[in-house]
């Protein structure tokens, strides 16, 4: 009985952590899906949004309810500015295009994280909100985890709905599948790319402001967050939404259970190992072309 309880707890927390990872990877996935740009500053957006939430909490005792809309709005503007100021000026097509965008976003990441270091310093910080535990039958789950993963799954379905059922979503998908085709149908693909990048950045902002209640952040942890998010979306098949959801749950369960059975450092090795194996066996991601936007 105790055994079963443990497994159940591991599975449930695994799925929830998966939701949190998904939330943190969502903006990256959207931007890659449409623009074929890996935004290496993604993690830094999340971290800065988290640190902003910490400051808001320190100044006004304001919780995520205030921090999330503020961070979302702020990073929407940041996304607009980054696209207009930087990405619109480089040629992102061709064999060198990918490298160029990586380099631009890498430079941006370095700038943002080091400015954050000057402002907030290097210590880990968190927002003490949703600190109670919820009793679920014989199981105890931290409230922050439940809230974060619920928001994550709701957001996942909202985005899926937006992409498949609305006019703007259709335009975004058309641009994602063939930019040339979309442009020749009279779509302003530049505007759609702008919108996508801003939206992806805003998602990072929202994710950061929320998950800081669960994961303490410091100015330099953005790089790690980016890697984690990228691992997830690569596992799911870049730009693939269903795949990302599946990969998130898989990664969450694997990480939680392997850190329970094998210890923390083995857990992170496990993630990379699975990542490489999946790449070799199924380089197109778990689901391949199915489920791509």
């Amino acid at each position: 009985m105790l055994q079963l309880q443990t497994y159940l707890l591991l599975l449930l927390t695994g799925i929830m952590w998966g939701g949190v990872y998904l939330l943190m990877a969502f903006g990256l996935n959207l931007i890659y899906g449409v623009m074929k740009v890996v935004n290496l500053a993604h993690g830094d957006f999340i971290v800065v949004a988290g640190l902003l939430a910490v400051t808001l909490y320190g100044a006004f005792q304001a919780g995520p309810v205030l921090a999330i809309p503020l961070a979302t709005l702020l990073f929407l503007l940041v996304g607009l500015a980054v696209y207009r100021g930087l990405l619109a000026h480089v040629d992102t097509t061709g064999s060198q295009g990918e490298l160029r965008t990586l380099l631009i976003t890498f430079g941006l990441s370095s700038i943002i994280s080091n400015i954050a270091l000057l402002i907030w310093g290097g210590q880990y910080q968190s927002v003490p909100f949703f600190q109670s535990a919820v009793r679920l039958g014989p199981l105890f789950l931290p409230e922050s985890l439940i809230v974060s993963s619920l928001v994550a799954f709701v957001l996942a379905f909202a985005v899926q709905f937006w992409l498949t059922r609305t006019r703007w979503g259709r335009l975004v998908r058309a641009t994602a599948q063939s930019e040339l085709g979309a442009a020749s149908c009279g779509l302003n693909t530049g505007r759609i790319r702008l919108l996508t990048f801003a939206l992806g950045a805003a998602m990072a902002g929202a994710a950061g402001a929320l998950t800081v209640v669960l994961i303490p952040v410091q100015a330099a942890s953005g790089g790690f967050v980016t890697v984690q998010a990228f691992t997830l979306i690569a596992l799911g098949g870049l730009g693939n939404y269903l795949g990302a959801l599946l990969a998130a749950i898989l990664l969450g369960v694997i990480e939680v259970s392997s850190s329970y059975f094998l210890g923390a450092s083995a857990a992170s090795a496990m993630i990379y190992l699975i990542f490489i194996l999946v790449l070799i066996v199924r380089p197109q991601g778990l689901l391949g072309h199915r489920g791509r936007i």
């Binding site: 480089v90 380099l103 890498f106 370095s110 000057l118 450092s265 083995a266 990379y272 070799i280």
Partner: protein
């Protein structure tokens, strides 16, 4: 006499001008050696770290710049080198140079299987897979207790700053020379070709996997060398600094800043960025990274080709064509374009028996049989989507049949890699030209010539001769992108012919050609056929192929609807119905 001497002198002068860069390089190296010998500790340390990054930059450039496989984990080999060297020094008290040698060998031995597996991945997947591997390396280093574990351990043998700087300088020079040699060698040619177009390289008889893995191992060895000398310099080993991601990122930044895939780019990038960040570190220790980040943005937006591209605009630092210019070909040393006696004319060379290929529910080819005889031209015609190109892909190994057999002579081609099939004597062209933009016309021909020829001299002669035959001699150092479409076609046919094929597969080579160009192709094909080569030509321009075809095969929806002599086939009602048109509508290609 003077007429032959004048170009010789000009060539020598040009050479000298090109070698000036090496003179400059030598002076810089000498100056650096002076710093290492007579400078103070700080200066020597700066020299050491600059040279360390030069070596890392060249290591990364070989795999990511020359062969186009961008890796985010080459620092993993730096870590392996550092650990291997530390182990040798701690456990067995080896001297530093022996430890370095051991580290390099260990990295190469490890890189061989890793590269074989990982290089199957493409683009961002390879980059991130390598990143994952280097992370796993770091985790292993953290968790083993062999060499200090996560806390690290001092290394007994520590060099003085001056001697480590001098050794590192030597390695940096070695890395530059290695890259320069690569760029003038057949291996470099193969790498550039596969970077541009892996399939076209395979079709030219290049074993792309072997070339990639070789480049990967060279890169790993260089990175490991840097790692071993790093341990010798700092006298300490720990996972955090051996598998340091910042090194990886900084290396990538340097190469891109200098110019990726070039000879001098990594050097320029590594030196400039090292010096800048060192100066920034003294002035603005807090803001250093911010300024570096801004520098990257500026570099990418204003200088996308790197520093080297600024010089290249004035014609400096350009890559020199391998073994160029092509030597003049004297009449008496002409080689046959095709292997001498392939066999009797009319003997079957290539046979496809009941070949079937299905894509999901669609049967692209259904029990198609085709035979090519030496000295004969087979025309394959049929509407778009009839399966013609699929047939070529099956013959050349780019695709696998679901049923049936394809034989070259008596040899079954099943499961042979494309490059093996190309080497066995089946050459092809592609429906849309697939040139190598990084190579000159001369090198494009040299590449398959090196595969087919016994010696370097023979290859050079054969390629020079083909260049003349295709009337491309004046454009020998032109990039394919600057050639007009007709000449590009000729170059592609020439590339296929350089393999001295027994079977030549031409995929719509006469589409969009002028009558004059078609006459040239006809002459070339007649020459090939006279030498006993078997030709299979897919063609839409029926009037262009019929005069020279001996046999016609008509495909429609994956089945052969007719075959036989051209005049018979063209009168066949089924062929007229399916392809040629009944005359009620205007024929498109007339």
């Amino acid at each position: 006499m003077t007429r032959t001497r004048a170009p010789r002198v000009a060539i020598t002068l040009a050479r000298l001008r090109q070698e000036r860069i090496w003179l400059l390089f030598g002076i810089v190296v000498l100056a650096a050696a002076m710093v290492a010998l007579f400078g103070n500790g700080d200066q020597a340390q700066l020299l050491f770290s600059t040279c360390l990054f030069v070596v890392l930059a060249y290591a990364w450039n070989i795999i990511s710049g020359l062969s186009g496989y961008v890796s985010f984990g080459q620092v993993g080999f730096f870590g392996i080198g550092a650990y291997m060297a530390a182990t040798c020094q701690i456990a067995w008290q080896w001297d530093w140079y022996l430890a370095a040698l051991g580290a390099v060998l260990a990295a190469i031995v490890l890189a061989l299987p890793l590269g074989t597996v990982m290089l199957r991945l493409q683009g961002i997947f390879f980059a991130l897979g390598m990143f994952g591997l280097s992370r796993i390396g770091a985790l292993i280093a953290t968790s083993t207790s062999l060499v200090g574990g996560s806390m690290g351990e001092p290394v007994p043998i520590v060099g003085t700053t001056q001697e480590t700087a001098l050794a590192m300088l030597g390695c940096a020079v070695g890395a530059v020379v290695l890259t320069a040699w690569l760029l003038r060698s057949p291996l470099g040619l193969r790498l550039l070709a596969l970077r541009d177009d892996e399939k076209a390289a395979e079709a030219s008889g290049i074993n792309t996997n072997a070339s990639k893995v070789t480049a990967f191992c060279l890169s790993a060895g260089l990175a490991a060398l840097a790692g071993s000398l790093y341990v010798w310099n700092v006298g300490f080993i720990d996972p955090g600094s051996a598998f340091n991601n910042t090194y990886e990122l900084q290396t990538i930044l340097m190469v891109l800043f200098g110019g990726i895939g070039t000879l001098w780019g990594p050097l320029l990038g590594a030196v400039v960025i090292s010096l800048i960040s060192n100066a920034l570190w003294a002035q603005f220790p807090q803001q250093q990274q911010i300024i570096l980040g801004a520098l990257i943005l500026i570099a990418v937006i204003w200088m996308p080709g790197g520093l080297v591209s600024l010089f290249q605009r004035f014609g400096w630092l350009r890559r020199r064509p391998v073994w160029g210019p092509p030597p003049p070909v004297e009449a008496e040393e002409r080689l046959p374009l095709f292997p001498a006696a392939v066999g009797n004319v009319g003997e079957p060379v290539l046979g496809c028996q009941e070949v079937t290929r299905r894509f999901g529910g669609l049967t692209a080819l259904n029990r198609v049989s085709l035979e090519a005889r030496s000295g004969h031209i087979v025309a394959v015609i049929g509407p778009n989507g009839a399966g013609k190109t699929t047939l070529f892909n099956l013959i050349t190994g780019f695709d696998r049949c679901n049923g049936g057999a394809i034989r070259l002579g008596k040899m079954l081609l099943k499961r042979l890699a494309p490059y093996r099939i190309a080497r066995a004597g089946i050459a092809r062209t592609f429906q849309t030209c697939r040139p190598f933009p990084s190579l000159t016309a001369w090198e494009t021909l040299l590449l398959p010539a090196l595969v087919a020829s016994a010696s370097k001299e023979e290859a050079i002669r054969a390629a020079a001769q083909m260049l003349e035959r295709l009337a491309l001699r004046d454009q020998w150092d032109a990039s394919p992108e600057s050639l007009p479409p007709g000449q590009l076609r000729f170059l592609e046919i020439g590339r296929a012919l350089m393999l001295r094929p027994r079977v030549l597969l031409l995929d719509e080579v006469m589409a969009g050609m002028s009558p004059e160009e078609i006459r040239l192709i006809h002459a070339l094909l007649r020459e090939a056929v006279a030498a006993g080569c078997a030709v299979i030509a897919i063609e839409h321009v029926v009037p262009a192929i019929m005069p020279i075809a001996d046999h016609v095969s008509v495909l429609d929806f994956g089945t052969t609807i007719a075959q036989g002599r051209p005049d018979e086939v063209l009168r066949n009602p089924a062929v007229i119905e399916a392809y040629l048109g009944t005359g009620e509508e205007e024929p498109v290609n007339a």
